[in-house]
Assembly symmetry: C2
Homo-oligomer: 441 residues x 2
């Protein structure tokens, strides 16, 4: 990027936007970050609900680049594996990485966002403007219109590079939607979610350092640990089922039948109260292409690739977006318009692959995980991974514990599936051969 012109606007001060501001600040650019909400560090109430986040390799790499990895992991809780809860209360641990013992890390969205905003504001060349909302973008003219929500004044702004990190309902993306060759797909899945809570006082009854899963076919509940020993619990199920649970009796009947061991932990009162007072949230998956427009506009994070939360890669892939962009910006011989075009070419297929993986993992987490065939495959994966970790790299590990391009992770998995089928076939034939020979003699 030219050193003589270097103003960058970042739209959105969520996780990806504020991390992006840190990266751009570190490079010495003049950065303005517009966030439509007020400063969450000054708010006393918790905003929104959110599935707890799990930081894995790609997120850590990005945080490391701006010196924040240690701070963030310091307030996160390592999770070594999944802990499956059977209907009878039987527990089974499935470590994420039996070979290298890699973990994923549970952290609350708001506390992470605070760390990132503090870090961004530490750069003199970064200005964070809260209560400033993107009204619309005139992308052909290369300008955005921003409203100062305090004064209601609307002003035009421009920069050398304008990055939309404004989330799944991105205003910048909606301007790109009208441009030639822009492909867009938005899917709301039929499952919604509701957040429940296991208080700190009962938190020690849960096996620590695990992501707890209650897989039940069409339903699934998960729990992630918080620093104060409480657990954030999330129930996923079809929206129609939420509608049918309308009174205390139906709610308790459902829970005592489907998730009996969780009832005493969440508590009957809290369970019923949350159900009756809260509407379930929806889950959206968004794929689009390209991620840039013209000579200066780029979308990253959820604005470019919102995904369902079942691979724990939403934030991690958004953070990796920033790493990828940063590396390209360091190539001094390239102009901004070349960089964002190249970024888009490199990134679209990868993030579309992870959107698909996230959708697939929902089936795995709530259903497949209970099947014997699936567990057999997992066991084979584990053995092969232990024997030749460089050759047999299981999907979850390549996604969560490496920086291998997402689409390569997916390609590997497809190749492994073929080899696995071949192995099973050869094994069956060998058995048959031995069996026939035994019969003959």
């Amino acid at each position: 990027m030219y050193q003589d012109r270097r103003k960058v606007i970042v739209i959105g001060g969520g996780l990806v936007g504020s991390l992006c501001a840190c990266f751009m600040g570190q490079k010495g650019y003049h950065v303005v970050l517009y966030e439509k909400r007020s400063d969450l560090r000054k708010d006393t109430y918790m905003r929104g609900r959110s599935i707890n986040l799990a930081i894995s390799h790609r997120g850590r790499v990005a945080l490391r680049s701006v010196g924040l990895e240690e701070t963030v992991l310091g307030s996160a809780i390592p999770m070594q594996g999944r802990l499956l809860h059977g209907k009878t209360g039987a527990l089974q641990s499935m470590p994420y990485d039996p070979v290298f013992n890699n973990c994923i890390y549970s952290i609350g969205r708001n506390s992470l966002n605070e760390v990132l905003l503090n870090a961004a504001e530490n750069y003199d060349n970064v200005k964070v403007k809260f209560d400033h909302k993107l009204v619309n973008a005139d992308i052909r003219r290369g300008v955005i219109r921003v409203q100062n929500k305090t004064t209601t004044e609307v002003f035009e702004e421009t920069a050398d590079l304008i990055i939309g990190a404004d989330g799944a309902y991105s205003v910048l993306r909606s301007a790109m939607l009208m441009t030639p060759m822009f492909q867009f797909n938005q899917t709301h899945i039929e499952h919604g979610y509701l957040e429940l809570y296991i208080p700190a006082s009962l938190g020690d009854k849960m096996t620590p350092n695990h992501l707890h899963i209650w897989p039940r076919g069409q339903f699934m509940m998960i729990a992630l640990p918080n620093k104060d020993t409480s657990w954030t619990v999330t129930l996923f199920m079809p929206l129609d089922n939420f509608t049918s649970l309308r009174d205390e009796d139906s709610i308790m009947y459902f829970f005592e039948n489907i998730f009996p061991d969780a009832v005493p932990l969440i508590g009957k009162n809290s369970l019923v109260h949350t159900f009756l007072s809260t509407k379930p949230s929806q889950l959206i998956s968004i794929k689009c292409s390209p991620h840039h427009f013209g000579s200066k506009f780029l979308i990253i994070g959820d604005a470019a690739h919102a995904m369902v939360p079942f691979y724990g890669q939403g934030m991690n892939s958004g953070f990796e977006d920033v790493s990828v962009l940063s590396e390209l910006l360091d190539k001094n011989h390239l102009e901004v318009k070349e960089i964002i075009k190249l970024y888009s070419e490199m990134r679209v297929q990868n993030v579309q692959a992870v959107c698909d993986l996230a959708m697939y993992n929902y089936v795995e987490m709530r259903d497949l995980v209970m099947r014997k065939s699936f567990r057999a495959r997992k066991a084979v994966d584990e053995v092969l991974y232990k024997l030749c970790p460089k050759i047999w790299f299981p999907l979850y590990n390549s996604v969560s514990f490496s920086s291998l391009e997402y689409r390569r992770c997916l390609e590997n998995k497809k190749l492994q599936d073929k080899i696995y089928s071949l192995l099973v076939g050869v094994l069956l034939l060998s058995f048959l051969f031995v069996f026939i020979n035994i019969l003959r003699y």
Copy 2:
């Protein structure tokens, strides 16, 4: 719909919007139609480019309901079939309906729009407001914001029913995009198009009453007749190929090799001039669900289901939207919010089916049509259709010459494909059987 509250707003005065205003006017509702452009009847210049339109059964049924079928067909030109142009100039006619001799009708977009606007304005209870643009819709509050482009004043408006017929880039739909469970898919295909022209003076060199097609695999050219004996020619090809034709030599080399018999008709000067002065247009396909929001908002036509033009059903399906809505509105016991919900439930799958058909037909028109296997199948279809027209209803005929729901047309076709495969299989086996028996004796 309640008789005591009956204000309807239609957004968009294109073909579907102005027809919708006629239907609503006929029912006695108080109708306001907002069109962002000026009155095309007062403009002297031709606006935009457009593939000529082909009216078929569904469009005719809708026009008939408001007494406009005869007027419209009076200025249209019947097309009995496709006329295929081979590379060597060989011609082959493929009638659309060898059993009942149904035709489709070629008409210019602007003249049809004029007829519809005149008809709408003939109702005292319909007000057409040109130069009024939908700025945005606050669909949760149930209001729209409209700008009078002459005075620049912006005002809020509401009605009992607000219908967005505002085209592929619908502003009303963009408000619905942000609502729970709204599914949306937008695809730009990699082929663009360019309009060319055969002047009236040479029009008689073209076989009349046909839709002419030059199928060439990745490329396709079509020509539709105009009332003044000129022909509107449309070339479809990958956008990359357009980019490679940048000077007179490359353009003429391309045409003389690929469409040699069309060169003298279009004329070298006109051909080269159009190529060098015009950017190819893009083609978009849009599917979404649902088509309504809340108690009063509905989208129809391209706003709800823009499709590629290869089945000639874009306008026809939009007109059918109006027929379907009209029938539901006539059910007096239903409230508007029930009607639009029901409309959406009935219509979404059908228009998504026709979007898919349109995409499929592009392959058929430019490629399959040249294959022997495809022609054999067509011939079998024709024979079976002649023998039992009520049972064997070929896809093209059910789509273009009946009101059978689009998804049923598609289901029929799939069933026919299975039967056809079975027939071919039985036939082959019989031959084999006979052949073996001949060898034995």
